[in-house]
Amino acid sequence: MARPVANRVEPVLHNRIGVFRAERGMTRQALADALGVNYQTVGYLERGEYNPSLELAFRIAELFGVPLEACFSRAPFTPMSQQLYHPEQ
């Protein structure tokens, strides 16, 4: 699956950055400062409009203390509430 990103076609990389950030009560600016990137880049990352480099992806996962695959996936994520309360669905 692919979608156009700024005149290019890039593979979609789904992520849970927004979820993890919200869980920790972080602002985009705080996350951006922790990662050493522009806060707008965090917005692009959360919306899936920019695929991070492998190095940045690892840094994001390390910052949230989760495995890389918990943060990024090539397939859409199941909502966490469904995973927790309705895993059979």
Partner: protein, 167 residues
């Protein structure tokens, strides 16, 4: 690849803060890029059309000022991501900047090609033929300077999307 910054450390003198909304940026791009040919045509054509003196000076001055102000606003856009060195940008911004230079080169090459093509055809068709004097070359040189300097900023300003505010 060596990162231009380290973990927990923002790029020095980081370029951020989109001060201008995208519709405003697009309008500035149009004013700066289309305004210059209009300015040159007004400079040359209005006296031929009978407008001279103060009216000509005010019209041409306003057009020129509009182009300069729009170009300066673009140049300052995000303290000009397009002009910033790697150390002041993160990896996404570096990619956007590099892509902007590629797009700008394509647009610039197209403009140069069109000018040469139109000039070549005009010199064959027009009677008497166009003679390359200082007055003819000067606006082309200024135009080349303007477009080569501001096109990357214009491409970034045109393409960068507005992001929703903090939720």
């Amino acid at each position: 690849m060596r990162p231009s910054y380290t973990l927990n450390q923002s790029p020095a003198g980081r370029v951020d803060a989109a001060e201008l909304r995208r519709p405003v940026r697009k309008m500035l791009v149009l004013v700066a890029m289309l305004g210059y040919p209009v300015f040159v045509l007004a400079w040359v054509g209005l006296p031929a059309a009978g407008m001279t003196g103060i009216a000509w000076a005010v019209t041409v001055g306003a057009l020129g000022l509009g182009v300069i102000l729009a170009a300066m606003a673009l140049y300052q856009f995000r303290r000009s991501m397009a002009q910033a060195p790697d150390a002041q940008l993160d990896e996404r911004q570096i990619r956007v900047r590099d892509r902007a230079y590629l797009e700008a080169y394509r647009v610039f090459a197209l403009i140069v090609l069109l000018v040469l093509l139109v000039g070549g055809i005009a010199s064959d068709v027009l009677e008497p033929p166009i003679t390359l004097t200082y007055d003819v070359v000067q606006p082309l040189v200024w135009g080349a300077l303007l477009y080569s300097m501001f096109l990357p900023s214009a491409v970034v300003a045109w393409q960068e999307r507005d992001l929703p505010g903090e939720d």
